[in-house]
Symmetry: C2
Subunit: 353 residues, 2 copies
């Protein structure tokens, strides 16, 4: 059976060009993926014409509105009924597609996806989930910015969803989980993290719970799934991006300083390329909104063709492996364990009295 993905062709800095080219590459490599492409006919059709194969496995649905980077989420929810973003999400809701991808306005996309698709039973807050580089390979991190204020239950939901995602994209049997904190000692951090850790330990709902981790554990690769609220997750991710750019900047600046350095850099070019490749953002592109009734993946707005290709791969993997069924099962198991835990707690309190 083929995998059907609906595409918002109008979101992102270089839409629809980068998007259509990315899809064209996918259909060269995979036979089981088909697309429903939503966008402006004047802009998309000329691009599609160049790709016979893509045309043959796609349906193009013209839309008349575009949600831009400046559109407020509230405005996107109220209006823009015939926008490519909304229509692409609707395809998932109406079971005409198995998943949706947009490189557009993150806030608007999250708001629309939440309202149109709804959240999975037992999930209070969906989370933006992504891959981050570490010394031992990519790791999963969430929430990257959807939820500014969270409670302990949300942190546990993020942990379970992160595990489900890590199993699929990192192909791990038993991913380890850590909560991002300001120290690894048991008593560090705020009340939300304290209670969340206590619940994770007492319910044993994660097979491989590591404990608290610190900021530098992210790139050390201490755990497979890094869990944080959207505030910390977002700031941490952007700090990483900034620091990587800072080091590249210093390196370029240093190399320019002398002829010898320039020659050296030329000789070490494959090495520098290796580093660049290790941190290549397109390899990390494709951030799912986990916890929704339906698969919705966010591509970086500034992505290139290889990056959009990667976002499609992530989406297809999640569909193939039925991630939402996995998440639902884990959530159900957790609520059972929580109830058991509470009743044993009640029993022990009764026994004590």
């Amino acid at each position: 059976m083929s995998i059907r993905i609906s595409i918002d062709a109008m979101g992102g800095d270089q839409a629809p060009y980068v998007i259509i080219e990315g899809l064209a590459r996918i259909v060269e490599d995979f036979k089981d993926i088909t697309f429903q492409i939503y966008g402006s006919d004047a802009e998309v059709l000329p691009l599609l014409k160049n790709h016979q194969k893509l045309q043959s496995v796609s349906t193009f649905i013209p839309t008349t509105e575009i949600i831009s980077a400046d559109t407020k989420p509230s405005a996107a929810v109220r209006g823009f009924k015939d926008s490519s973003m909304r229509q692409a999400i609707m395809a998932v809701r109406e079971k005409r597609a198995d998943g949706v991808i947009s490189a557009g306005n993150t806030g608007a996309y999250m708001a629309l996806a939440k309202i149109i698709l709804g959240t999975l039973e037992g999930i209070d807050r969906p989370a933006i989930t992504g891959l981050v580089p570490s010394i031992v390979g990519p790791k999963v991190m969430l929430d990257l910015g959807a939820n500014v204020d969270v409670n302990p239950q949300n942190i546990i939901e993020f942990s379970l969803m992160g595990v489900a995602f890590a199993k699929i994209v990192l192909q791990l049997k038993n991913p380890s989980v850590g909560l991002l904190n300001i120290g690894s000692e048991e008593l560090k951090g705020n009340a939300v993290l304290q209670v969340a850790q206590q619940m994770l330990r007492s319910t044993k709902c994660l097979e491989n719970y590591y404990g608290f981790i610190e900021g530098d554990d992210i790139s050390k690769g201490t755990v497979d799934v890094i869990v944080a609220d959207g505030f910390m997750g977002n700031i941490s991710l952007k700090t990483m991006e900034g620091t990587a750019r800072l080091m590249s900047h210093f390196l370029r600046q240093a190399i320019e300083q002398s002829l010898l350095s320039k020659v050296g850099a030329l000789l070490a070019r494959p090495a520098l390329k290796f580093v660049k490749n290790k941190l290549d953002p397109s390899k990390y592109n494709g951030a799912p909104f986990l916890g929704l009734k339906g698969i919705a993946v966010k591509s970086h707005g500034g992505t290139d063709i290889a990056g959009f290709y990667n976002a499609v791969m992530v989406t297809a993997d999640m569909i193939r492996q039925n991630i939402n069924q996995n998440i639902s099962n884990m959530i159900l198991e957790f609520s059972h364990k929580l109830k058991e835990d509470e009743s044993s707690f009640h029993l022990s309190v009764k026994g004590a009295s």
Copy 2:
């Protein structure tokens, strides 16, 4: 008049060696700095013997206890009466020294400094303050981990203290300030940041308030003073450290891959050294606890001699320029402006009714 600094010689990974050697270098370069050195006589005296000049401008006070990295802050506060850390702080309280430096246990040092020195009038929470690298040079960032939960007033205190520090260490007349957030738009973030920004704007207590900044603005150098709660500040700082190490690791790994790369790296050695130097942690060593009645500076526990030297320089600069008087003046001015603001608010409400 000479600057008198009290030194906890027993804190840090390589104490007292790195500390005594750092002080010895200082007295070679500066004539107006004297020291009171607190520590174990068996360990410190043999080191001091090698440095005639340092001995001649220092007093050594033997202490019998050591607060280690594992000592809990609560235990440090209750016991360890004759510890080098406590005694060194006491010297500031009793006006026998103008500032104190320790490379020991941060939590214990902050707890003791807070209790022994007390906070400046108008300051609710002292903050750990440090320098971080950016494309346009070092910038000031606080709080780096002292305060997990903060209110808007604390954020404003941090802003004012950060400006006072930036004026001294970065030698800026009018440092710009940004609040670390998940987006630069006015409505982004949590209630604490929203209210803090509103108060900063309405009281105009900062001459050069920029607004909200994001994680990648830190290394871009968008503002001179980056203000965050201790949670975000700490995670962000450690994420930076981790990412820098990650990139160095990939670079080393890449260079090892071929003879050509190795030759290239050899030729580009001055360039690589330049980058290393730009990010050298010893240049950033010396993190004051701002907001205390007395100057207390934390050195990194893993610092080297050059790093400890730098921490002494930071301390001496703060003493020379009377940072606490500056902070007190700014706090006073702010509370006046806040009152004016409130009374004008009341007036306008009355006028409206």
